[in-house]
Subunit: 280 residues, 2 copies
């Protein structure tokens, strides 16, 4: 709830104010609250552009599109409460000593945060992005919760609602590989498996490369699939949420690099010791 | 030369025969040799389709396209002789004992092959793909050797000659990151640096992911940018050459996984030993 309130206060509330100030047509709607204001704004935008959908570019063809019947806060509440619950559960689960972990030591706070991150990644890659991978053709007309989530997100990047070729391919690889491998990373750390940092490196590099291509392709397209400057759709949905998958994987790659290099150094020094002539 | 002869006998010669049999219009041209036959075939194809270029789909728009003035064997000779020379040089360079390597041991044959591979990757990623990254807009009209190489390759995948968005992004990342990192991998192995297998894993995973997306995007496009079934352009250029960057990186990822996991296991066992209570 703290996270949700933070998001509301940081992104949604200023956006609501911004909209109200910039568009006098919203004033009546703003009196009856934030949700109605958004809905009214969108309706006005749609009416003004003549497009039967809220996506960019405004002349984009989205056949069979049906408006969401769930509000933005409802959809975001689902996403962040499930992610937050998984994060919290993993945090609590790793609070105590793990008997299987090397020498019964406690996991450090940073390591526990990393495991919480991979747990959330497993959920988002396999469930949320997995849904897109399986149903991307039906999403514009579908009213299930996850389809509505993608229709909402597509306001920040309409490539999802038109099943853009690269987007579908990248999401399929993410759902098929980085999702299950995220969960395997968590299991490997909990069980102190020797492959745990290799898995961390593979998942994080896969996420980083996918996100770099995701941003770069849209940058070269001139950000036509979003509304540049929009506080929620562009800055929060498109930039901020995806940028998490640049910064955190980058940090985890460096961490795995350091850990694995240290281990390799130890291994090399042992080999060197064994190969040293007896007379030395 | 052996490699070039092998390629000629395996791919180019049967293709020449295939063309001659399937198109009676080629008979006159075939008498004056393989190169003329290809050129004549292409001219006939172009004349028949009305398109001023040899690319697929035949109605593709390639503004400012200028025909290559170098023949296919000349271009392939350049690519494979430089790659072959670099491969051979690295093979010879790693033949003797490397004094800096752990305990003065010899590198295994498989490890030497891996270093030859990364050397060739460094050349292809930085020089060949680097050229594409810098000059993709000018390539259709440019007659420099590397531009002609890309115009030749584009017969197997015309996305290169139209500067397809995903292709440009993927190639830019490849040239900027996987190229220099390939060279760093070679240097790290020669100097027995502790990061050598981490680098091998990063480069190989980057190459694998890029190639998977490269194939997958074209598969979803229905292979419209090539001439499916063509023995050289489709099977050799598009499938075979790129498939090398699936099979070899996959093998090198598994190798790095095994090496790094073994090192981590050793590291963990040492930590376990230190943390074990004295009474045990």
């Amino acid at each position: 709830m703290v996270l949700q309130q933070l998001i509301f206060v940081t992104f949604i509330l200023p956006a609501s104010v911004h909209r109200s100030v910039s568009d006098v047509r919203c004033l009546d709607s703003c009196r009856v609250g934030f949700i109605s204001s958004l809905s009214f704004q969108e309706q006005m935008d749609k009416a003004a552009s003549g497009a039967p959908h809220p996506y960019w570019p405004r002349d984009l063809s989205v056949p069979h599109y049906v408006d969401n019947d769930r509000s933005m806060p409802e959809i975001l509440l689902f996403l962040f409460s499930v992610s937050g619950a998984l994060f919290l559960l993993m945090w609590l689960f790793t609070r105590n000593e793990l008997p299987v972990f090397a020498g019964g030591r406690r996991l450090s706070g940073a390591r526990r945060l990393a495991l919480c991150w991979f747990t959330v990644c497993g959920f988002i890659h396999m469930v949320v992005e997995g849904w897109f991978t399986l149903h991307y053709r039906a999403i514009p007309s579908d009213q299930s919760l996850l389809s509505q989530l993608w229709k909402e997100y597509s306001k920040g990047d309409s490539r999802y609602v038109i099943a853009d070729n690269f987007t579908v391919c990248m999401e399929t690889v993410t759902a098929l590989f980085w999702g299950p491998l995220s969960i395997w990373t968590v299991v490997a750390f909990l069980g102190c498996r020797s492959c745990r940092f290799v898995l961390q490196l593979i998942v994080s590099l896969g996420q980083l490369y996918g996100t770099v291509l995701y941003f770069y392709t849209e940058h070269r397209d001139g950000y036509i699939h979003s509304q540049p400057g929009h506080p929620i759709y562009f800055w929060f949905y498109f930039v901020f949420l995806n940028f998490l998958w640049v910064v955190i994987p980058l940090f985890l790659i460096l961490d795995a690099w350091r850990q694995l290099s240290t281990a390799q150094e130890l291994c090399d020094s042992r080999v060197m010791g064994k190969n040293r002539p007896k007379r030395q």
